[in-house]
């Protein structure tokens, strides 16, 4: 891949050789370049995990917070400075396990951010336990008899909550992944991209091969604005569809914030109006 302004140069990347994360990194960089986003104007927000190391490998601003807690700071960053592009990137455990409550409520709140979830169906960084998306029967050091719980279907869940943009990608395909990411970033409102990402170290079931054999792209003429249809497609299990499942253009969070009614500038540039505050204080002299 050609060099971009987001390249970090010769750094040590802590991922395993062959990991799907490398492809996602490339796809993202390409998307950012294509969209002409400036590094200074981007904040990557992540939780903790292998996927969550992503921001370290791009030359840009980042906020690498707590495991499971990437969406709240991301929402706040965007609300504090609308001029910034905010991309949240984390793993399936981080996003749907520890971070599950933020996930469902971020969908409801609909901030204008992009959420890339590296879904390797396993906990990578902590060495191979099941994640919320691990498939039934998946055996690990902990789930010795295989996973019993129903895997979480993030696509169906997001659609059920009427998310603004819902897509699925596969890290085996850098081009389409790049394109889906681009659409997600361009979309105004909360955009989820669940990315199938092979983990070569801990997931020997859901491999590149497996994903290739068990996925296909939604048809060209697929209409992503029909919710029930989108839901139906999200339930397909025999072969898992890839692409943009659902788009639901609606007002996004920052549009609801009165702070931007009169002024454009980000919050860091503001000071309180002491005259008004004096008035408020004085109002407490009366009834």
């Amino acid at each position: 891949m050609s060099s971009t302004k987001f390249d970090m140069g010769d750094i040590d990347i802590a991922w395993c050789p062959g990991c799907g994360n490398f492809v996602i990194l490339n796809a993202l960089k390409q998307a950012l370049v294509d969209l002409e986003i400036k590094p200074e104007n981007l904040v990557m927000v992540s939780g903790i995990g292998q996927a969550a190391k992503m921001p370290q490998y791009l030359k840009t601003n980042y906020f690498n917070g707590l495991h499971g807690r990437s969406l709240p700071p991301a929402t706040a960053i965007k609300a504090s400075n609308r001029e910034i592009v905010v991309i949240v990137e984390s793993g399936d455990g981080c996003s749907y396990g520890e971070g599950g409550n933020h996930f469902i409520h971020a969908i409801r709140r609909n901030p204008d951010i992009t959420n890339l979830v590296h879904n390797n169906m396993v906990y990578g960084l902590t060495k191979g336990q099941a994640s919320p998306t691990s498939q039934k029967g998946f055996e690990t050091s902990i789930q010795v008899k295989g996973v019993f719980n129903e895997p979480l279907n993030p696509i169906a869940l997001a659609i059920s909550l009427d998310a603004s943009f819902v897509a699925r990608a596969f890290a085996g395909d850098v081009k389409q992944t790049r394109d889906i990411i681009k659409k997600a970033i361009e979309h105004r409102g909360y955009a989820l991209v669940d990315i199938f990402q092979p983990c070569v170290s801990y997931n020997k079931v859901n491999t590149y091969e497996w994903f290739k054999n068990n996925t296909y792209y939604l048809e060209e003429d697929y209409d992503p604005t029909n919710k029930t249809e989108a839901f139906k497609r999200s339930l397909e299990m025999e072969k898992l569809p890839l692409g943009v499942f659902y788009i639901n253009e609606k007002p996004f969070f920052e549009e609801s914030l009165s702070v931007y009614d009169k002024y454009e500038m980000p919050l860091y540039d503001r000071t309180p109006d002491f005259d008004k505050l004096s008035e408020l204080i004085d109002s407490k002299r009366g009834f």
Binding site: Q56, P73, T75, A76, S258, Y268, L277
Partner: protein, 575 residues
Amino acid sequence: MGIDVLWNLKDGISIVLCGEAGQGIQTVEYILTHALKLSGYNVFSTKEFMSRIRGGTNSTSIRVSSNRVAAPVDRIDILIPFSKGAVDHLKNRISSETVVVGEEKIFEDEYRGDNSVNIPFSQIAAEAGGKIYTNTVAAAVLLGFFEVDLQMFYDYLEHQFSSKGDEVVQNNIEAAKHGYEACEELLEGKKLQIPKDDSIKDDLLVSGTETVAIGAIAGGCNFTSFYPMSPSTGVSTFLSKNAEEFGIVAEQVQDEISAINMAIGAWYAGARAIVSTSGGGVALMSEGISLAGILETPVVIHLAQRPGPATGLPTRTEQGDLLFALFAGHGDFPRIMLSPGTIEEAFYLSQNAFNLADKYQVPVILLTDQFLVDSNYNITTLKLDDLDVEKHIIETEEDYKRYKITENGISPRGVPGYGKGLVCADSDEHDEAGYITEDFDVRISMVQKRLNKLEVMKEDIIPPELVGSEDYKNLIIAWGSTYAAIKEAMENIDNDDLSMLHFKQVYPLHPDTAEKLEKAEKLILIENNATGQFGQLLKMNFCIDTHDKILKYNGLAFSVEEIENKLRSMLDQED
């Protein structure tokens, strides 16, 4: 005797309203305190109430006084029961001097002391147009005891009810008139002789909730993320209501974990954020506080304490979260903890919290409690003149390093999008540029850099206030909201050897503290909790133990008499 016992009162009077949740006692309180303040009386009010929306028994205690007062008393001069059980609820506070005023049928079966008078509030209200005017009648009756400008009251009613139509306004005014007249009849034209002072009319009448919130706005707060929790919700509500006017992003979120992580994100992006919560909320925020610690991101946390553990007594008061808040969050990192003694201080400390957080890039915890936030009284003003929103944000250069090692340990803080640099903040141990590192030497320098702030921030530590003479033998140690009750008790005792050292900054402690403690022969610790947590903190810091303790943990704030009696018996024992 009846009403006559009241004529002895020269300095002030204590009125208690008691009834069920939902009966509108707070409306009566509001009218009474505001009308009296506007007539030149000092007023103070405080509430104790159950964790329910309707029913139960709640009470509001109001003091009207010649002096400024800010603490509850046990004494009740006038008790207005609004529901059955109300008088019984307060039986321990009823003395031979207490006059119960109200509808006899409500309290006829209960112990009501020696003096009670029947004023049929609801009948008067019914005559004026309906029982819904009962609160207006009650307020008017109470105002009848004082020298007040009734027109002001009518204006208020007009303003308040104009949207409901002329009839409602007129009925209210009618109810007020009749109530007032009923009182005049009862008092035979006499009035209470509590001195007024015209200058008071111009005072502010505010609650701790309001001063915390106004302080936050004055501190440049432009972001708040919160999850409702008694007794902290009022601050969030106030900020939400004023969000549009003052340019604040105010968002109720899904849980406290979101609240703190949002607030930290907001500060990272250059906003000035507060989270307002209670102990249980801070428990959930503990990991987030630790995050602020390593990110060196400022954040302001308002912790309005209530009795724990767990759900505990959700609407009551306690100072039980001091040590918990001091160590909340894993790992070693500095923080600042402030705890106002009065509602004025709540304003200044809340304002200052934002500057301190920004300057030192640490979490600042403002510790109040239900008593403080739910108390109201008149104060002369909240001065904005000398206050500054001190921003410590820099415009970044291309080679900007968020965690640059500097002489004093504080790395200039950039925000994304302001300047040419990149702002990389990391919850893993990181190098100067913010990238994850496992280098052992870098780790050491980062730990030291963070902890070094405890040194640097010494210059800004708010010294404890000495109340009383410098030549004390007995020194009361206190912090936070107990200030006014102790001070008033001390004034009543009037003992030259007795002073109080009151802490408004509870961490880090002022370096002169040890010296001041050592000067005393006897240290008397007063805390509204069960284990004397501040005493433990003093030991931990200075290896100095207190000799006596006055602790209270039933869910109520200290009354003046309670402290006075305990102190007197301690001081007596000495002789």
